[in-house]
């Protein structure tokens, strides 16, 4: 029997495939179609202190092999989450990671504190791709000291699994991974969406109400893999690899690049049980390749240094 599970900070994940934040609601939307106990884990939609209506339409644009979204973190707020959703999640027999979003460091802390006492949440993933109101709306996520501060402040509030979800919209993501590792984060999630934009030439208007949005899906897989590779080489804490994953083989590629586990996002929209298929695909790959524990594949990319260091001319 091949081992598919892994343990992180005392949390055992049944397999190495979680559903990504914002792409699986709070776990109860598609219970007809998806047997949650076969998921490695569920990362919830980002939770803020108060409920958020989200952005006006249009929020979604399909692009070549990808999609742009500008949801604006529509969510029910942490209170309603704890009251209405957590009881259902507790029954799902899978790891539950609460994703937290906020517009100030204090708000991050208060959301985490509200959840900390509750049973059934195994860890936190911190979405730092949010506008910092104190900095005139510039994203926390592109500012290394802001990301460090968030990590530092949250680390003292919880002994549970603390994952920082990094934005790819920075020059050197490895430096961000290193910074949060230094502040005691247990893992990083790499990556959130890439800033993108779509325009309707006929009307001369942006397609999304907020002009720019986040690009996800297969189109970004090559970019995400490079970010995971950079991050995993920069730190020794685990990396959750995210970006365009649809198949077991995609997920194996992320493991080879250095991810300990992966998250499946946009693919859930096409096929709600996509993450289960990915987990099964990984298992089959492992079996076919005589792997005893999928963990063997983490960072196992064979790089030929003689050519790889030659050049990065573009």
């Amino acid at each position: 029997m091949m081992r598919t599970s892994f343990t992180l900070k005392g949390v055992t994940f049944k397999n190495r495939v979680l559903v990504a934040s914002g792409t699986f609601g709070y776990g109860d939307e598609v219970s007809d179609l998806v047997d949650a106990k076969r998921l490695g884990g569920i990362v919830t939609k980002s939770l803020s202190l108060k409920p958020r209506d989200g952005n006006p339409p249009r929020r979604i644009v399909e692009t070549d092999a990808g999609m742009l979204n500008s949801i604006g973190l529509a969510n029910i707020g942490v209170e309603a989450f704890v009251r209405d959703k957590l009881p259902l999640l507790r029954k799902m027999k899978t790891a539950v990671v609460a994703n937290i979003a906020a517009s100030s460091v204090d708000e991050y802390c208060r959301v985490l504190e509200r959840i900390e006492g509750e049973e059934g949440v195994h860890g936190y993933e911190i979405n730092v791709s949010c506008p910092n109101v104190k900095e005139g709306g510039l994203s926390f996520g592109t500012n290394r000291s802001a990301v460090s501060e968030i990590t530092r402040r949250l680390r003292v509030l919880t002994g549970k699994l603390l994952i920082i979800k990094l934005t790819p919209n920075v020059t050197h993501i490895g430096e961000f991974a290193k910074a949060v590792e230094g502040e005691g984060a247990d893992a990083v999630s790499v990556i959130n969406t890439f800033v993108g934009m779509a325009i309707d030439a006929q009307s001369r208007k942006p397609k999304l109400s907020t002009v720019t949005g986040g690009l996800s899906g297969p189109a970004i897989k090559p970019l995400a893999l490079a970010k995971v590779y950079e991050s995993a080489n920069a730190v020794s804490i685990p990396v959750f690899g995210i970006g365009g994953i649809r198949s077991g083989e995609d997920a194996i590629e992320f493991l080879l690049a250095g991810a300990t586990a992966v998250q499946v996002g946009t693919a859930n929209f096409v096929h709600p049980a996509a993450a289960i298929d990915v987990a099964e695909g990984m298992e089959k790959f492992g079996r076919d390749h005589g792997v005893k524990d999928l963990g063997e594949l983490v960072g196992a990319l064979e790089v030929d240094r003689s050519t790889s260091v030659i050049d990065s001319w573009q």
Binding site: T23, F24, L33, N268, P272
Partner: protein, 254 residues
């Protein structure tokens, strides 16, 4: 809600650029109600568009579900190119059906273009309930007109090539001179038409339920990508896919 790998039973061209495609799925056929939709996946093997394409359930006959659609882009082109016997991955039925339990005796169906799609199915349900039906169908021209499986039709075309020369809401206005017994309007079509229809319903004080269309990424409530402005205080948006696609015209701001 089921995700099913189904077989295409028939594909017919029913008007210019318009396809009626039926597939066999006892589960989806049995569970579907008028106003609901299915979300059709483009086979991965051909690397077509990423996301599923939503279509109203247009007709249900025993185990068969029919959808009716215009070829407007790559997704509909690829789905329309499927042949009898080909496989198709379909998720459905999705969304909230038209409400048929409220107190009405005459159904006024108003369709613009392919907004006709949900109404054959609605018509057959209304017939079973012995509700009177009047149907108003608008189209750009006779060549684009689709109007099978409907009852008591009146036609409007933008170019006058068939029926009334003008838009379908105008036609409705002229036709509905005399008051009817407990009427209710069911509307589906382009947004400007639905706006006009809502205004008309409000003016005439007739309850009106609309089936809306818009971009969807998932169709099942996962992505929060399909907001519709709500009237009233409370929350600002409803989700088109799970709280719609049918809404009372007074519930939403178009």
């Amino acid at each position: 809600m089921f995700e099913q790998n189904v077989r295409v039973v028939s594909v017919r061209s029913v008007a210019e650029n318009t396809i009626a495609l039926s597939f066999s799925s006892p589960l989806i056929a049995r569970a579907s109600r008028p106003g609901q939709f299915v979300n059709v996946r483009i086979p991965d093997s051909i690397q077509g568009p990423l996301l599923r394409r939503p279509f109203s359930v247009s007709r249900v006959t025993r185990d068969r579900v029919e959808i009716l659609f215009n070829i407007v882009g790559p997704g509909t082109a690829l789905i329309g190119a499927r042949k009898r016997g080909d496989a198709l991955d379909v998720l459905g039925p999705l969304g909230r059906p038209f409400k048929l339990d409220d107190d009405f005796r005459t159904a006024i169906i108003v369709a613009g273009g392919l907004g006709i799609a949900p109404f054959p199915f609605l018509t057959s349900a209304l017939r079973k309930k012995k509700i009177d039906i009047m149907t108003f169908v608008g189209s750009r021209s006779a060549r684009q007109l689709v109007s099978a499986n409907l009852e008591h039709k009146k036609i409007a075309t933008d170019d006058g090539s068939r029926g009334f020369h003008g838009n379908v809401v105008e036609l409705l206005g002229r036709a509905l001179r005399r008051r009817m017994l407990k009427p209710k309007i069911f509307g589906c079509g382009p947004t400007p038409m639905l706006r006009a229809l809502s205004a008309f319903a409000l003016k005439e004080d007739i309850p009106c339920e609309l089936s809306l269309e818009g971009e969807m990424a998932c169709g099942v409530g996962l992505c929060q990508g399909c907001p519709v402005h709500r009237t009233g205080d409370g929350k600002r948006y409803s989700l088109m896919c799970t709280e719609g696609p049918t809404f009372l015209s007074t519930e939403v701001i178009l």
